[in-house]
């Protein structure tokens, strides 16, 4: 394999041809913020928080998708880079509920002194986002910063979709589409600020093509897509990640050998995920592996007790 030499933040780096600038940065332990990037999905380079400065390039370039070239001189922390990342984070934070983004993202936002309030107070939630027509939008007076805040969608027993938290990173679409599940139950609809993740004609998930594999939830970086069980525990203020253990095991529902991560709180499974770094699943599961655990919950002295009652009792005992 051919090797390529480049300079990142003054450091000489040699990497294999064909890797991305993000890979090259990581090879020298220089982390970059990312939102729409995931190792197991094709880069869509839409969130633009991973942009870096490449000498000779008119604009900044997305490190997640740009391939290395010999002789590149790259800045990942220049004033220009910091500026773009700050403003992009401000745009997101001023329009989307980012309360559930991961810890590293929060740290990046702090390090860039992100101030979403500079665009004005957030506008009130709206309920017509799924009906908007491309090329047309309502009168803008500028008093408040428009947001994507809207009612949460609860239309089935397994998932909730809270698009007030959606940054439109396309990951769920990719995971549901040809990067993994190939079910294509959801896509981006509409245009511009009114672009949104949608089923055909905004039908409910059970009416649409969804097969409830949960792989969209598995890749969502902002908590916009969530297991209904987690959502309800959070609503009841019973979701306590610091009390949860995560145990890796193998799914029992067929012979493929998918690895599961069982998230257990007070001896109850509260969520099932799959490790992204495992060659069999790459983080993806089917409906059985993701949700088929209920039968081990129903046994014993806890038989038929709703999970929130059990957890509430466990908390009062501890």
């Amino acid at each position: 394999m051919t090797e390529v030499a480049l300079v990142i933040d003054g450091v000489d780096v040699v990497v294999n041809e064909g890797v991305t600038l993000l890979d090259a940065c990581r090879s020298i332990a220089k982390q970059q913020p990312t939102l729409c990037y995931l190792e197991t999905l094709a880069p869509v380079n839409v969130c633009r928080v991973c942009v870096v400065e490449v000498e000779g390039s008119r604009t900044l370039v997305p490190s997640c998708s740009r391939k290395v070239e010999g002789g590149m001189v790259v800045q990942t922390d220049s004033e220009r880079v910091r500026h773009s990342r700050r403003v992009v984070f401000e745009m997101l934070a001023s329009s989307v509920n980012l309360a559930l983004v991961d810890h590293p993202t929060r740290e990046w936002m702090e390090s860039y002194n992100v101030d979403p309030a500079r665009f004005g107070p957030p506008a009130a939630p709206t309920s017509d986002r799924d009906q908007r027509h491309a090329g047309h939008h309502g009168e803008v007076v500028g008093g408040a910063a428009e947001t994507v805040h809207q009612p949460i969608k609860v239309d089935n027993s397994l998932y909730v979709r809270d698009y007030s938290r959606c940054i439109l990173c396309y990951k769920c679409v990719e995971a549901c589409g040809d990067d993994a599940q190939n079910t294509f139950a959801i896509a981006v609809a509409g245009r511009g600020f009114d672009a949104r993740i949608s089923t055909e004609f905004d039908v409910t998930l059970p009416e649409g093509a969804c097969v409830f594999c949960g792989n969209c939830i598995g890749v969502c970086p902002t908590g916009a897509l969530m297991f209904r069980s987690e959502h309800e525990l959070r609503q009841a203020d019973l979701w306590e990640e610091d009390r949860q253990s995560v145990t890796r095991t193998v799914c029992s529902f067929c012979g493929v050998g998918c690895n599961l991560e069982l998230h257990v709180q007070d001896n109850r499974i509260v969520k099932v995920t799959s490790p992204q770094d495992h060659s069999v699943t790459e983080g993806h599961l089917c409906i059985k592996g993701r949700f088929g655990y209920e039968y081990v919950q129903e046994l014993g002295d806890l038989a038929s007790t709703p999970v929130d009652v059990v957890l509430r009792r466990a908390r009062s005992d501890s």
């Binding site: 193998v250 012979g255 050998g257 499974i269 699943t281």
Partner: protein
């Protein structure tokens, strides 16, 4: 296959192979994550041929779907072989070097010219020809199968018909080319690997080979009965013949899962004594003299399971088992204690380390390495061995390393349960995406896509019988009948009906199925039942 019972290839190989035959498998529903790998293969340009009586979810992705008549797989495979030989597309270098019995095989498949095969299979000759050429001329090709091949009275012959094709074309023992049986449960493969089959010790060591048996006897410090045991169907025959008087059932529910369940239950009822060890109070457990409540293997116990790509992986305890339930290991150890064996209460790792001494295929797989490597694919002979992505590369050594692989010529035989005027419809069985086996486990969650137990009819049959969607109907076979709602399914064609296996309480398919079983493997012919469908209450 060729000495060791496991899929020859890794899932990753299907992502870059050229031609894929999915034969008697609806992996999209039954093995969804394997199908992810297959889909990546399609996106990378692989051509997919699906052999399935139903135009299943999987078949809808196919470049060519071959809607074979149920139970005619051998005729199709032999006809393909005949095309390949006649057109000079056999891999003669490979055949000469690595196989035996080609002449007899060629003679057998010569009895399957296209016209005859088309007659038997329902597949037009030009399609058979196209499939054969595609397989033979592919740079690499995989044949993947599941129960559509093995749940027949001639299951072993079906498998041999496919392995013969691979030998004929050299599509085995190379990266990207292979034979991939997908397993239905997380440790079907591991159970066999560990010796939980009548004729093998752990690591596929023949129990009737005195040298191999002696080695294991030495490690275990106990004599091992020198003859192979009964497989499942033989056990039921032995029940009925009063030769089997006591049974210890671990994690199986034969009262529901056996074909012709009425007959199976009679066999269990005739026993003097039955112990059932299970995580559920199953129908079988209801009949037991003693029930031992067990912990779920995948969430409440420690151990290993082995997947369809021979990957040994650890299962781990995440939950305390409920009530008095104990792990299978603890139950067996305590039983052994009670019998005075003096095993104590070994940990899962201690048991595994003993297995590593017994089975050369697993020797290099310490728990530490299994953790570090995300599982290891057998064989793994020592702690420096990474395991093998694909097996049987020895067949490509010139001269071949070890014994050559024999062709086993096989002839087509029609399904046992004949179609007649009284039972004119061919019923086959299968799985739904959100269901699992008899449904005891998968029934526990609230699936938004659950279809439930139905008899699925082609639009043509539904119209002919004047049956509306959702209407309750009687499905009647020579052995029994069930009343279920009808569902109209355009993936079926006239004369073919379908039932899923997951709904024993509401749609007990095994009241209908036939117990005709394969003498070599002991699997029953779940896939081919003759039925008629009548409007309920007529």
């Amino acid at each position: 296959m060729f000495g060791a019972g496991g899929g020859t290839s890794s899932y990753e190989e299907i992502e870059t192979t050229s031609v894929i035959f999915l034969w008697g498998s609806n992996a999209r529903a039954a093995h969804p994550i394997f199908f992810h790998h297959l889909l990546r293969g399609l996106h990378n340009g692989a051509r997919l041929y699906v052999v399935d009586p139903r135009r299943s979810e999987s078949a809808r992705w196919a470049d060519m779907w071959m809607g074979i008549d149920v139970g005619s797989d051998i005729a199709l495979a032999n006809a393909m072989a005949n095309v390949i030989i006649e057109r000079g597309l056999a891999n003669h270098d490979f055949v000469n070097n690595a196989t035996t019995g080609f002449e007899a095989y060629a003679k057998t498949v010569a009895g399957y010219p296209l016209e005859r095969a088309a007659e038997i299979t329902g597949i037009p000759g030009d399609a058979i020809e196209q499939a054969a050429i595609a397989y033979a001329t592919a740079a690499t090709a995989q044949i993947v199968w599941t129960l559509g091949i093995t749940e027949h009275h001639n299951a072993t012959d079906n498998v041999l018909a496919l392995t013969n094709l691979a030998l004929l074309t050299g599509h085995v023992g190379r990266y990207g080319s292979g034979l991939v049986p997908l397993r239905g449960q997380n440790n079907v493969q591991g159970g066999g690997d560990m010796g939980a089959i009548p004729n093998k010790l752990p690591g596929f060591q023949d129990v009737e080979d005195p040298v191999l048996r002696g080695r294991v006897e030495e490690i275990w410090g106990r004599p091992i009965p020198p003859e192979k045991g009964w497989h499942l169907t033989q056990m039921f025959e032995a029940c009925h013949a009063k030769m089997l008087r006591g049974l210890y059932v671990i994690g199986e529910n034969p009262a529901d899962s056996e074909a012709d369940s009425t007959h199976a239950r009679e066999g269990l009822a005739s026993l003097d004594f039955m112990v059932v060890e299970d995580i559920f109070m199953t129908s079988t457990a209801e009949m037991a003299d003693v029930v031992l409540p067990a912990a779920a293997d995948w969430a409440e116990s420690e151990g290993t399971v082995t997947s369809s790509e021979r990957r040994v992986q650890r299962v781990r305890k995440a939950l305390d088992p409920p009530g008095e339930a104990k792990t299978d290991l603890e139950i067996i150890s305590r039983l052994a204690e009670a019998m005075g064996a003096g095993w104590g209460l070994p940990t899962a790792e201690e048991v595994w380390d003993e297995l590593r001494r017994v089975s050369p295929l697993h020797t290099g797989m310490s728990y530490r390495r299994l953790d570090e490597l995300g599982g290891i694919q057998w064989p793994c002979y020592d702690e420096n061995h990474p395991g093998e992505k694909f097996i049987h590369h020895r067949l490509w050594k010139v001269p071949v390393e070890g014994p050559p692989a024999p062709f086993f010529p096989v002839e087509w035989v029609a399904p046992v349960d004949r179609l007649t005027d009284k039972f004119p419809l061919r019923m086959t069985t299968g799985r739904h995406l959100d269901g699992f086996n008899t449904g005891v486990q998968s029934g526990g969650f609230d699936s938004p896509i659950r279809v439930g137990g139905t008899i699925d009819l082609s639009p043509e049959d539904a119209e002919r019988l004047a049956i509306a969607p959702g209407e309750m109907v009687q499905v009647i076979s020579r052995r029994g009948q069930v009343e279920v709602p009808a569902r109209i399914d355009s993936s079926l064609r006239e004369g073919l009906v379908f039932m899923a296996v997951h709904y024993s309480e509401t749609a007990d398919v095994n009241r209908l199925t036939i117990e005709a079983w394969d003498p070599k493997s002991g699997t029953a012919e779940f896939k081919a039942t003759a039925v008629r469908v009548e409007k309920a209450g007529v």
